[in-house]
Subunit: 354 residues, 2 copies
Amino acid sequence: MSWKDNLRKVHPYVAGEQPDFMDMIKLNTNENPYPPSPLVTKQLRQYDSKDLRLYPQADADRLRAELAQYYRLSEQQIFIGNGSDEVLSLSFLTFFNSDKPLLIPDISYSFYPVYCDLYDIEYKNVALTQDFRLVFADYCQPNGGIVFANPNAPTGLAINLHEIEYILQKNPDSLVLIDEAYVDFGGQSAISLLDKYENLLITRTFSKSRALAGIRLGVALGNEFAISKLYDVKNSFNSYPVDSLAQEIGIASILDQKYFDHTVKKIISTREWFKASLITLGFELTDSKANFVFVKHPKISGKELFNALYDEKIIVRHWQKPRLNDWLRITIGTDDQMKRVAQFLKQYLEERKK
Amino acid sequence: MSWKDNLRKVHPYVAGEQPDFMDMIKLNTNENPYPPSPLVTKQLRQYDSKDLRLYPQADADRLRAELAQYYRLSEQQIFIGNGSDEVLSLSFLTFFNSDKPLLIPDISYSFYPVYCDLYDIEYKNVALTQDFRLVFADYCQPNGGIVFANPNAPTGLAINLHEIEYILQKNPDSLVLIDEAYVDFGGQSAISLLDKYENLLITRTFSKSRALAGIRLGVALGNEFAISKLYDVKNSFNSYPVDSLAQEIGIASILDQKYFDHTVKKIISTREWFKASLITLGFELTDSKANFVFVKHPKISGKELFNALYDEKIIVRHWQKPRLNDWLRITIGTDDQMKRVAQFLKQYLEERKK
């Protein structure tokens, strides 16, 4: 026996490559192409670093108060964590302790089954249709909880409020967790359903629409009882996951509604012309409502396209997995970046024909 | 059945009170009384907030490189996490998966048994002596790992390198985790033993000696194999726990050795005269090597002293627990603050005699 025999066995995560070319176009991790609000810079310039000697507010109460106003919820309906990854992980730990399986779409955010393995939660992959649609009737079987992303990743496909309400009504005894990481780019948020369904929990992130992936801020929205339970679990073993600067920067971002609206609209409009131009080139696309498109060519493999783009220093995301194999996920960058991508693809297809 | 039946059961943590009086002296959470290095302020002023749109370096490689130089270790011997609480939690998850119990001193950091409950790790409390000494022969029984803090909390008592080496030698098949959160204030670090014992893992924090509790930076130091396993587990479910700003601020702090030495020395010298003046007043103290003292009065209960200090807006830490009941933990503040505390206690004892 050695201490090495007591190591936890994990599937080491193969991270998306993070190349660092001088003039690359990085469209592989759904980062926002625009900087965060200028109020964030102002906050950084005026922050009194003396305050960093003190522990942060454990429950980020000032940021909670700002978000409460922003979402028109009570402060007790809001949970703040270290990125939505931590909020999701804590939600799995808090709410999914049933002997019935958690239902998860078979194609969705790759960390959901990982949290299940981590916390010994039984789960069942529910198959999406061939065109990646969520069949909401499939979520009426016995379960210990339901998790899905809306819009979904990596497809960008969104479901509407009626479909969500159907799932909530059919599962009054299950917590339904909706990951709205991408909802600001055109999905329908379930926030308006929080009053009606106490079994609904929503997660959000500052990483995408607020261009703050660098500071790790995630949010859960739910009824006051559920949120209090989430805080109980968090505080039982981790008092201060969100640092003071992140809390202040989060507040600065929330206060600049105009900038937020402007950049989100810009990304949506870029996405829509980019989609149209790919369709013109003969690509197949899902109707993505996120800050990325999900795309394949009927005659060219995903791997070939990925490599061709990579050689041009255009970095997108590709998975060597059944069903996803032929698809690429391309983050929406600036207009200039996406023009270059469309132009290159056009040229590549033309030269390939010859 | 309701979703509320599937909630995880936890012992909700009763947080130390965080009062917010105008002119209080806050000596209850072992924060540093001095601000972080001026280089931290400089870093904040010049940081380009545009970079916040990007995800942080997942493994904090630039900060790792700085720390490698600082500790004279290889980069692969260094792990960075979201505060030492996260580093400890991940270490428990990674290394303590044995069917033999983890050994923990019965009086130590209160989160150790909490991590065990969280990850279903069997553990055994090993009793300290009546005067809070760790009996190192007690750590030779069969075990699935050993964890202790050096110096210990809340006693401040440190053990020396020979004692640590004894434990490491007697347990070649167990990972021995030493929490060195307070070691910079006068303990003997086990870093020099890392070359010799591959079963040694050390954790550190930027919260105490580096006055950066606000940004959440914790460190593990170990052999390259152990550190790679810690990263495997971390990366399997949580890619970006440490935000970009925290990484940059950590680097700025490491680069200012002179400021660090100056403030640490100052705290040690304040602690020593404060200890001496409490002894003069008739208090009993442990020989704390941390940035706090652990103190009781032979005739006055801990609760009474806590309340008397509290009424003076001097906030210290007290536990309603057997063995700790009569003790107070008082963080070392500035000279002025500690003079006020000593003066008040003197006056209180005199008036109580009348």
